[in-house]
Amino acid sequence: MLGRMEGDYDVVVVGGGPAGLAAAIGARDAGATRVLVVDREDEAGGILLQCIHAGFGLHYFKEELTGPEYAERFVARALDRDIDVVGSAYVSGAGLDSDGTRRVRVMREGHGIRTVRSRAMVLAMGCRERTRGALHIPGTRPAGVLTAGLAQRFVNVMGLLPGRRVAILGSGDIGLIMARRLTLEGCEVVGVFELMPFSNGLTRNVVQCLGDFGIPLHLSTTVVEIHGQDRVDKITVAPVGADLAPDLSRCREVACDTLLLSIGLVPENELSQGLGVELDVVTQGPRVSSTLETSLPGVFACGNVLHVHDLCDYVTEEALLAGRFAGELAGGVKRPRDNIRVVPGDNVRYCVPHTLAPGREHTIYLRSERPLRPAAIRVGDLVRRKLGFVTPAEMITFRIKPDVLDRFHGEALRIDLLGEPAGPHLAGAEP
């Protein structure tokens, strides 16, 4: 992608996925004049470029788009606003000057290496997939063990198939979507194996990607060995007990030439760590204030680098906000610091943002620790609301009206999820 990158900027956005593009638009609309988006891929759009299935934009554009279409609309909006968007440009480091100026070091194909300065910076680097190393699966190390995202890239971008007979470990959304895609391409998907007693993907994906194609989902099951010299030729799977330890007396072999891993995403925060941004051990993303500002002033974060989202529309919403606050800061707007700490309580794995301020509306994103049914959310003793069925796979968004916090006088606001633990019951699932 051609693009301009000249001089210094009001706001520099690292990463040109849906988060980065929306943040840039948010910043521009908040009055920043010079905004730059840098992405290491040839084209901006992030992971969306390889998600050629429909299902994006229902919330934001009120129509169903494919990933590349969604990305294209955002790139067009950014360019319309005179935002500089450059691709093939890798941010290899970031720092703060002593006067508070933020700088990034950009390695750009055809343009060498340059340092770019700005008043505010938005981190929008997305996430990467967890790999085999995170699991310690014994066995050989053949070709044919790869993440579902890499397989998605093979199929959707490079015109390659990852294999013929495919097993999938983990029921993350990318794995589910790839199960369907590979089946449509003529591959045989022999099964999806999930350690937990519930799917890690959206229910709609379990139904539409597995159920409709007769692909079995084996819950409470894991891969205990990989076989094959040069290429995978089979795997051994075993059911797990309540302690998640495999019961090897009940293991069995499954013939396949490919093992896709869809076992979770990790925010890509090496750059943030290099900067010295404080991270949340649970989300593995930065700790942020209600303006999505990290522990370093003038450095904002949004999208999957902040916490893993399941729907792109939420990424967009969050990023527009982060961009707006970054743009305002670059324009000299000063806000009082947040004075309320958000504390994840019962059944809550994490909440973002980590602090709040009275007098503004807030959107809180949270995830439950386990499936609950029926569930309710309790915010301190201020609000209590019914939610219906809740699962760790589906992010919960919750809005707090400005006046609500006016009634709160403490320092720490605890958020609980209430409800009975729910057993596995998802469509398409085999116990």
């Binding site: 060498g112 990467r128 085999r132 310690h136 014994p138 890499l150 390659l160 013929r164």
Partner: protein, 480 residues
């Protein structure tokens, strides 16, 4: 094709590579034949990477003699070939009171063999030097000459040096038959016949099979598997030296290894196996390794493992190296090179050189022998100004291929120029794919560059040659 050579070396592991390079100093025509897609993909890639001091092997054995000489040769070799090498020192630690006696014996054995600088440490000294080791340890023997290397880098550099000095390398070239041929032997391969006055059997775990091909089946190899576990970068700096227990007759034991790159590795196990391709790691192996190393260093946890591999030691009956001419004219074994074969390799090369001279091979030094190969470019290690200057001159230095290890397209190209033919070959030469995302990001880019450079379609790119295909063409008729 049928060509005549003075020496045909079978096996492109560290042993065959070291010998080929040593012989390339002389006016000889030499071929180096490797079965796999690249050199160094056998046991020479899957080991602990330790340059042993040699005090733990008796000088009554060949391996015990060659190891000390090999160790001493490493400084010069590293200076010439620019692979990573650092003498970090080794500790043999005493877990039981009886071990203290064994340490004294080890020291006496080492002193007698000329192992430099051996020193017994009391628990106080040990704690001061290595505060993270178990408080239960009763003392240690320090051997300062122990070093660590990236073993695959050594093999690549040896082969490159050999090739620069005229050695002809053939990969994907398994020797399938050996037949008498005039006053030498003919090695038959799918890539033609290589006739040699001398044929050297450096085939590692397959060396007894190659000997059988020549009609010299005088020994058998029992593969002894060793599993190794790499630990998270979080543990960087946990120990500064190699930590060994007191060795047993069968193995040096399970160790804590601060590798050349700093990452801590623990292992290996030692288990005799039947299958010569069995390089699978096992749940039991992991349990054994971690149970043991936690006695040495309690803060190591199995959950810190980020990746694992296994290698096969080529153990010949008799438990020593099998080096020397055979009843078959021209056929020379350099077989059964089990641990410490990596350490001994440069000394083995000298030994084989002398042995061939004694067998009648004329060694006429080449005046133009070039001992040096240049270090591969490592962009990530350069100062920012140097990086900027490089990128300004060559745009490929501004194109990042592997984000985790910051490897640029220029380095990938360079690796292909120096013989990389597979993704693993790129990975072990440049580190592309060794980082946190384990190739999730760089695999497509690396495949594209390899395919373009080798002039093959994307689906022809492999992980490590043979049947290790990565992807299939879409829509094409799928063969079974």
């Amino acid at each position: 094709m049928s060509e005549r050579y003075d020496v045909v070396v079978i096996g492109g592991g560290v042993v065959g590579a070291a010998i080929a390079r040593e012989l390339s100093r002389f006016r000889l025509r030499i071929a180096l034949l490797e079965r796999q897609a690249e050199v160094g993909f056998g046991t020479s890639k899957t080991n602990s990477g330790i340059i042993h001091p040699g005090h733990d092997t008796s000088s009554a054995t060949l391996k015990g003699r060659l190891v000390v000489r090999g160790n001493a040769l490493y400084d010069r070799l590293a200076a010439e070939l620019h692979f990573g090498f650092r003498r970090i020192g080794q500790l043999n630690v005493a877990l039981e009171p009886a071990d203290l006696v064994a340490l004294e014996r080890l020291k006496a054995q080492g002193d007698a063999k000329g192992v430099p600088g051996l020193e017994l440490w009391d628990p106080a000294r040990l704690r001061r030097e290595e505060p993270n080791l178990s408080r239960e340890l009763r003392g240690a023997l320090h051997a300062p000459s122990a070093g660590v290397i990236n073993p695959y880098e050594l093999v690549f550099a040896l082969v490159e040096s050999a090739a620069r000095n005229g050695v002809e390398l053939a990969v994907d070239c398994p020797v399938t038959a050996l037949a008498a041929d005039g006053d030498g032997l003919a090695a038959h391969t799918p890539r033609g016949v290589f006739r040699g006055r001398f044929v050297l059997n450096c085939a590692g775990v397959a060396s007894d099979r190659v000997a059988a091909l020549a009609g010299a089946a005088t020994f058998t190899i029992t593969p002894r598997k060793g599993e190794e576990y790499m630990l998270d970068k979080r543990l960087l700096g946990l120990v500064r030296r190699l930590v060994f227990p007191v060795p047993s007759p069968k193995t040096k034991g399970t160790l804590i290894i601060p590798t050349f790159d700093g990452t801590i590795m623990v292992g290996p196990t030692a288990e005799d196996v039947l299958d010569r391709d069995d390089v699978a790691t096992t749940a039991r192996g992991a349990r054994e390794v971690f149970a043991f190393v936690r006695r040495l260093c309690p803060s190591i946890d199995p959950r810190d493992a980020i990746t694992a591999f296994a290698g096969l030691r080529a153990v010949a009956d008799g438990n020593d190296f099998v080096i020397g001419p055979t009843s078959v004219r021209g056929f020379v074994n350099v077989a059964g090179i089990q641990s410490p074969g990596l350490t001994a390799a440069p000394a083995i090369a000298e030994h084989v050189r002398d042995l061939l001279a004694a067998e009648g091979l004329a060694l006429v030094a080449k005046p133009d022998f070039a001992p040096e190969v240049r270090a591969p470019a490592r962009f990530a290690h350069l100062a920012p100004e140097v990086q900027e200057a490089l990128a300004a001159r060559d745009p490929r230095f501004a194109r990042v291929v592997c984000r985790c290890e910051l490897v640029t397209e220029a380095e990938i190209d360079d690796a292909v120029d120096h013989g990389a033919r597979t993704l693993d070959g790129l990975k072990f030469r440049t580190r592309a794919g060794m980082g946190r995302c384990q190739g999730g990001f760089c695999t497509p880019r690396a495949m594209e560059i390899l395919a373009r450079r080798l002039g093959v379609p994307l689906h022809a790119v492999t992980k490590r040659g043979g049947g290790s295909w990565i992807a299939l063409p879409m829509g094409a008729e799928q063969e079974a």
